[in-house]
């Protein structure tokens, strides 16, 4: 028995040794081949590293990313400019009736569901989106800052709370939306039961514009908290503890430690979150669909909860004949985001400490 085990062991050792030797030889052979090829290329003056200038080599190395970006990002951007210039575009037979520069923009801006609402309705794509951006972004940033500072200062159950706050990030947006809609149900919903509001309608028939908007903003804010908390918490944990010890020795109140030390030291991260969440909020789509359906209109309501992106999709859907309007709409969105981001960059120069 013992000799058998010994035999197995020794044969196993032999096997592994031979495998190792095989790979060792393989590597040597490949190294030799590389050297050979290198020498050959050098001899023939074909070596990329010496023959082509730096920018050409850079282009070759970047090509995988560039190809993907060109197909899925750059070309669509150029394409939307092209579509925006068409008048009477028909996708099925690929014909146009003429060209225009501002025509499609004017159509979009004059559309009652885009910028200015008609007298008998409330809410337009732009107004809704702006309200969501300007309320949910600041609120969620402040909330997540406070939550991450609080999370950082507790010791017991820290991991537990971190997991709880991170859950929305890994949960499906639509699923969250359904749960939120259920929470705000008029008949037996959690919110109405909890606050004793009776059959107060939030997102169903009979709900007013601002009630629907409240629920939507609540949802948009809560859903984005997770990622922000995670980013802020990691950057707060990265701050050298000695700053806090120094502040403690100087009898700095908590409030001032927060505003004068924590916030400035993580300001690059706050700025990053600000820019990305403004852009993200401008592109809001899922949340509205989850709460109010693809029309963005609660049952029987005389208002719309549509966002700019929903507006654009609506025109993409219509058989492809309104693509020019969708293109104009998306260029307007692009313009708004571009201007706002530039403003933020300018404003951040004084406030962000790298």
């Amino acid at each position: 028995m013992a000799s058998l085990i010994k035999n197995i062991k020794s044969s196993f050792r032999k096997m592994t040794t031979s495998i190792k030797t095989f790979f060792w030889d393989l590597r040597r052979a490949s190294n030799a081949r590389k050297k050979k090829i290198g020498a050959y290329l050098d001899k023939k003056n074909l070596n990329l590293a010496t023959k082509f200038p730096g920018w050409a080599r850079a282009l070759v190395y970047l090509s995988p990313a560039l190809i993907v970006l060109s197909v899925f990002t750059f070309w669509p951007i150029i394409n939307s400019f092209r579509l925006m210039l068409y008048e009477g575009y028909n996708m099925s037979n690929n014909t146009i009736t003429g060209y225009t520069i501002f025509g499609n923009f004017i159509k979009v801006i004059n559309d009652e569901s885009f910028l200015f609402a008609a007298s008998h309705t409330e809410g337009t794509a732009v107004m809704n989106t702006l309200i969501i951006v300007f309320i949910s972004v600041p609120v969620s940033i402040f909330l997540s800052l406070f939550i991450s500072v609080a999370l950082n200062s507790i010791k017991p159950l820290k991991g537990f709370f971190q997991t709880i706050y991170f859950l929305p990030y890994v949960t499906n947006t639509i699923a969250i939306g359904l749960v939120i809609a259920y929470m705000f149900k008029a008949d037996g919903g959690l919110v109405n039961t909890l606050f004793g509001l009776g059959k107060y309608s939030w997102v169903e028939q009979g709900a007013e514009y601002w009630r629907s908007m409240f629920v939507l903003i609540f949802y948009a804010t809560w859903g984005t908290l997770a990622f922000k908390i995670m980013v802020f918490l990691t950057s707060i944990q990265g701050i050298d503890k000695q700053y806090y010890q120094a502040a403690a020795i100087d009898a700095t109140p908590r409030r001032r430690i927060f505003s004068r030390i924590t916030v400035p030291l993580i300001s690059p991260m706050i700025f990053y979150i600000l820019v990305t969440s403004v852009i993200g909020s401008f592109k809001i789509y899922n949340q509205i669909v989850a709460l109010f359906g693809v029309t963005g209109r609660p049952a029987g309501a005389n208002y719309t909860m549509q966002s700019i992106v929903m507006y654009i999709y609506q025109y993409i859907d219509g058989g492809g004949n309104n693509l020019s309007i969708a293109a104009a709409g998306s260029l307007i969105l692009f313009g708004i985001i571009l201007v706002l981001t530039l403003v933020q960059m300018q404003a951040s120069k004084k406030r962000v400490h790298y």
């Binding site: 010890q245 120094a246 020795i249 001032r256 004068r260 400035p264 030291l265």
Partner: protein, 357 residues
């Protein structure tokens, strides 16, 4: 402000439940207005002691007094201390001016007075012209000055410095050493600083404490400590090049080196001891009458005005630093002597120095 530590003990308990005594029953009285260095190898509990004085760590046992006030249970901000961290902990997003102003903003100081105090303090530490700069635009030495100014601007009762010079290059270190001493003298503030560099501690402190594994080894003025070490640890820790230490026997009242009678010690009992002799305390004997020892030179190095001789005593390699004129390159042997009071005899078991008059 007199600073008094009474039986100060800090025990850290790690996750597995084992105790580590970082500071063990430390009792020191630091007189008002003196600069005291806490010295020891890394892990000896000197920073722990400093942080306990600062209040950032709570002592397990013992008391800390600032003058007559018992501050042991007091929060750091209520103790009135200024602390300079090893890496300065200057707020990177604030200018030098704002950094120094920061502690005052939390105090009830009129604005005009606060501004004046910041300016005076910046002048005192020599950074008056750099108030608008950010810490990143300053050299290490300048950052150090800002950190000291920030610690001093609130007029603390005690100034604490944690390894103040360890982040500076060799030349700046020499310069900042003198600066710290000057600033301390000018303000007259009781100062405690931590260092592992014996030369640094010796050069600036009025008094120093040597710690080993949290236990106080000696507390006295630097030169006194150098000349009369209390035990083998202190003797070995101080001095560069380090002290020669080797086993030697006292037989019939005579200290035996290489089987020769070297010196008579009447008060020392016949036994085996650890002997300590500093390289620079050796001298080439010129008179016949002196107590001396003849040694075979193994190696000889000339280092500027001194000459380093290598030889063997009781089977141990010994170095002696003597005047370069007193020994020639061709010499094979040399007669060496040493002042009686510079021969340190330590107990073999306890390491304590044995007084021989």
């Amino acid at each position: 402000m007199e600073l008094r530590l009474e039986n100060l003990t800090k025990i850290f308990t790690n996750k597995t439940g084992t105790d580590l005594t970082a500071v063990d029953d430390l009792s020191i009285t630091i007189e008002s207005g003196t600069l005291v260095g806490l010295l020891g190898p890394s892990g000896c509990g000197k920073s722990t002691t400093l942080f306990m004085i600062a209040g950032l760590l709570k002592p397990t046992r013992g008391k800390i007094f600032f003058g007559e006030d018992d501050v042991t249970r007091l929060a750091p901000e209520k103790r009135g201390i200024g602390l300079v961290f090893q890496n300065y902990a200057l707020y990177p997003h604030m200018t030098v001016y704002k950094n120094i102003m920061f502690p005052l903003e939390n105090m009830d100081v009129p604005r005009d007075e606060a501004i004046q105090r910041v300016k005076d303090m910046a002048e005192l530490v020599g950074i008056g012209s750099m108030l608008d700069r950010k810490p990143a635009q300053l050299s290490g030495g300048q950052q150090q000055r800002v950190a000291i100014a920030r610690a001093l601007v609130k007029k603390p009762r005690v100034l604490l410095l944690d390894e103040p010079l360890s982040n500076l290059d060799a030349r700046l270190r020499l310069q900042m050493r003198e600066e710290i001493k000057r600033i301390q003298r000018e303000t007259g503030i009781t100062t405690v600083f931590v260092t592992h560099d014996q030369e640094e501690a010796m050069s600036i402190s009025d008094k120093m404490v040597v710690l080993d594994f949290g236990v106080q080894q000696q507390y006295s003025a630097p030169q006194e400590m150098y000349n009369t070490p209390a035990n083998l640890f202190v003797a070995k820790f101080l001095g560069n090049p380090p002290i020669n230490s080797f086993e030697a026997e006292v037989k019939g009242g005579f200290l035996m080196l290489n089987d020769q009678k070297f010196m008579k010690f009447k008060e020392v009992k016949d036994a085996s001891y650890i002997l300590g002799m500093r390289p620079e305390h050796f001298k080439v004997s010129e008179k016949d009458s002196e107590e001396k020892i003849k040694v075979d030179i193994k190696d000889i190095f000339h280092v500027g005005r001194d000459t380093m001789i290598h030889f063997e005593l009781n089977g141990q390699n010994i170095r002696a630093l003597v005047d370069s004129d007193s020994v020639g390159d061709k010499d094979k042997t040399v007669d060496l002597t040493c002042k009686r009071k510079r021969v340190y005899i330590f107990d073999k078991d306890t390491g304590k120095v044995i007084n021989h008059g």
